[in-house]
């Protein structure tokens, strides 16, 4: 993927850049809002990673300008401002996801990849399939290997999110944000417990595990 990072902190930018390159992405870097805007106009990027506070032109203005010009590449906003209101402002300006500093690289990578997935032409899917696990979004049923699996509503939503991002790493914070809509970190590992419950329903009775733990990052559903 071709990724543009607009970040004035060079060290932070290099850290992201190095990590993303190691994962096989092509990465460009702009150091201020104006340069970032110019660069994103001149070339087509799959993902933009934009720091919120930038010299010359702030991140939100960059995103607004791009959206006005019809640029639809997904944008991940990085910010030290993490209050709900700040998030809402960021998403209103046209950002697709919001990551609060400081963050682990795994978190950033997971979100960038999740955003890239969103770019794929998405037909309204009524059925999700991962290996022999099938989810019917209309009937709200889950079947694995021909066996019905009964899930609680929240478990269903958790699995739905994991299946939509199958093959990708999803972090605990992402799950808490997207499945529960909470924007704070509980001190206990609430997500781990929910994952293990889900695992006991979709994996335990079967030979092959689909829901994998990715150490230091999160989880991945993969056949």
């Amino acid at each position: 993927m071709r990724i543009l990072i607009i970040e004035d902190d060079r060290e932070a930018a290099n850290y992201i850049r190095k990590g993303l390159k190691e994962c096989g992405h092509v990465v460009d870097h702009a150091v201020d809002g104006e340069e970032g805007l110019a660069m994103s106009r001149s070339a087509e990027y799959d993902i933009l990673v934009v720091d919120r506070m930038l010299p010359k032109l702030d991140g939100l203005s960059v995103i607004e300008s791009l959206r006005d010009e019809g640029v639809s590449s997904p944008v991940l906003i990085l910010s030290a401002l993490g209050e709900v209101d700040h998030r809402v402002e960021g998403l209103k300006a046209g950002g697709d996801d919001y990551l609060v500093k400081p963050y682990a690289f795994a978190e950033l990578l997971a979100r960038v990849e999740a955003l890239a997935r969103r770019r794929d032409p998405e037909v309204v899917r009524t059925k999700l399939v991962v290996g022999d696990l099938e989810m019917d979004l209309l009937a709200r049923t889950v079947v694995r290997g021909g066996e019905d699996i009964l899930l609680q509503p929240r478990e269903f939503r958790l699995l739905e999110f994991l299946m939509k991002h199958s093959g990708q790493v999803v972090t605990r914070t992402m799950l808490l944000e997207k499945v529960w809509d909470y924007h704070f970190d509980p001190q206990t590992n609430v997500i781990d417990v929910h994952i293990s419950r889900l695992r006991s329903k979709i994996d335990k009775p079967f030979d092959e595990a689909l829901l994998h733990t990715v150490r230091g990052a999160g989880y991945r559903l993969q056949a």
Binding site: V84, P102, R154, H183, V190, H194
Partner: protein
């Protein structure tokens, strides 16, 4: 060069007093002037009336017994001294009778009135000395070419009026002088009190927050100013104190993990370590730094909440669905730790606040319960209408509880009871709950829980009671 005026002259109080003194002097002067004009005018009118009356008497004599009668009357009236001045003048201008030496050298007006000065010996003084006295008279032709002149000496009244005028002028001058004097006194008093407040302000600016503005308990505006000023200083001092406390606490709680982390890294860098041990040290350092970042984030959140920015976005909502969601999130956690989890949710309550903060407070209360309740305990999340109708959200556990003496302390920042220092966490969980309660105007209660059933501890009940939503 303008000489610098004494400081009190420049005060508002002095200027105001001076202004009011000037206004008072002006108005009293006007009143006195009116009194003067009225009484002086009245005296003149009375004099004229007396003269007119006397003419009436003379004219009656003339009608009864002609000019001789008038002559006799005048002689009678002037014998032995009289208050009136008379002259009877024949058609040739000769004086027939009267007690004046001659017609005054003043031309009467159209109605015959004239004011003049004449000489008279003071009573009992037979010498040639004469007083000059003011008088008013009228000259009227009574018939057959004879004229009668009747006057009244008003020197005494004139003097009285003169004295009155002087008194008025002196009184006005006194009023002005007293006004200035009281201006000086009042403004000195006033500026002394203001100076006291200014001195306190300057001392505080210099960094010493302890002095307080003096109060005299009168409840006047300066007293109120002092009172508000002092209240402001109290608040400032409290905030400064809190900040210092936070500083100390940060130092206290962050120094040891930072030191640990530093030592681990130094150790890993020292020659001799294996690749594996270096890797392990780095991993541990990562965990440590995440924990430190967690503490910083918690501090930041608390400060933001305490600043009250969120209050603007408060809305009215039924907390029931949020409580159910949170219960659903934590139920598996509680059960995995071997606790039984119970939830009671009363619907239809309304609170005014921030949903996200409300959820966060619940999460922290539940975190706290999960963390401190030994395996096999019971945790209950409950939303109910308290006896006085307010919405109350509570978490009750069967853990060791918190001794009554420590309950206030644990909701202060960074306070972790010694027993729990080795537990993970920022030690800010309950402080955050407290901050959230405060910003909502909610009451935070820490009480003994359900009690020591089956060998459990006394337990802890944390309740947040929201103000009634009117």
């Amino acid at each position: 060069m303008i000489r610098r005026l004494p400081s009190f002259v420049r005060t508002t109080a002095f200027r105001l007093t001076l202004l009011s003194a000037a206004l008072f002097a002006l108005s009293s002067f006007l009143i006195l002037a009116f009194v003067y004009a009225a009484s002086a005018g009245a005296a003149l009118q009375r004099t004229d009336a007396i003269i007119v009356d006397e003419f009436a008497a003379v004219e009656r004599r003339y009608d009864e017994s002609g000019i001789d009668g008038v002559n006799r009357y005048i002689l009678q009236r002037t014998v032995g001294g009289s208050d009136f001045l008379y002259l009877l003048i024949n058609p040739n201008g000769r004086l027939l009778s009267g007690n004046l030496n001659g017609m005054p050298d003043v031309v009467p007006d159209d109605e015959g009135w004239l004011d003049f000065v004449y000489g008279r010996a003071p009573a009992g003084d037979e010498s040639e000395a004469r007083d000059s006295r003011r008088a008013r008279a009228r000259l009227v032709e009574i018939g057959d070419g004879y004229s009668v002149f009747i006057g009244v000496d008003f020197e005494d009244e004139d003097r009285l009026i003169g004295r009155m005028l002087r008194a008025i002028l002196i009184a006005s001058a006194l009023v002005i002088a007293l006004g200035i004097a009281s201006g000086v006194v009042v403004s000195r008093r006033f500026s002394r009190r203001l100076d006291a407040i200014n001195t306190v302000a300057r001392t505080v600016k210099g960094g010493d927050l302890s002095p307080r503005a003096p109060r005299n308990g009168s409840g006047d505006e300066l007293d109120e100013l002092s009172s508000n000023f002092n209240a402001m200083l109290e608040r400032l001092e409290e905030l400064m104190h809190r900040m210092r406390n936070v500083g100390d606490s940060i130092a206290h709680d962050l120094r040891s993990p930072l030191t640990r982390m530093r030592n681990r890294m130094e150790d890993a860098l020292r020659a001799g370590g294996t690749r594996q041990s270096r890797h392990a040290a780095l991993e541990q350092a990562l965990i440590d730094s995440d924990e430190l970042l967690g503490v910083f984030n918690a501090i930041l959140s608390i400060s933001r909440i305490e600043a009250g920015d969120r209050r603007e976005s408060f809305e009215r909502f039924d907390p029931a669905p949020l409580v159910s969601d949170m219960g659903e999130l934590y139920e598996p956690v509680c059960e995995d730790s071997g606790h039984s989890f119970g939830m009671q949710v009363e619907e239809g309550l309304l609170i005014r606040g921030d949903r996200s903060l409300f959820s966060q407070a619940m999460a922290n209360m539940l975190d706290n319960a999960v963390k401190y309740t030994p395996d096999g305990g019971a945790i209950q999340l409950r939303l109910r209408r308290s006896s006085d109708g307010r919405a109350e959200i509570s978490v009750t556990d069967t853990g060791p509880g918190i001794p009554e003496a420590d309950r206030l302390r644990v909701i202060q920042r960074f306070v972790r009871l010694e027993k729990s220092r080795n537990q993970p966490g920022s030690g800010l969980g309950l402080s955050l709950v407290k901050a959230i309660a405060d910003v909502h105007g909610a009451e935070l209660r820490l009480e003994e829980g359900a009690g020591g059933v089956d060998g459990h501890g006394p337990g802890l009940r944390i309740a947040m009671i929201f103000p009634a939503d009117e």
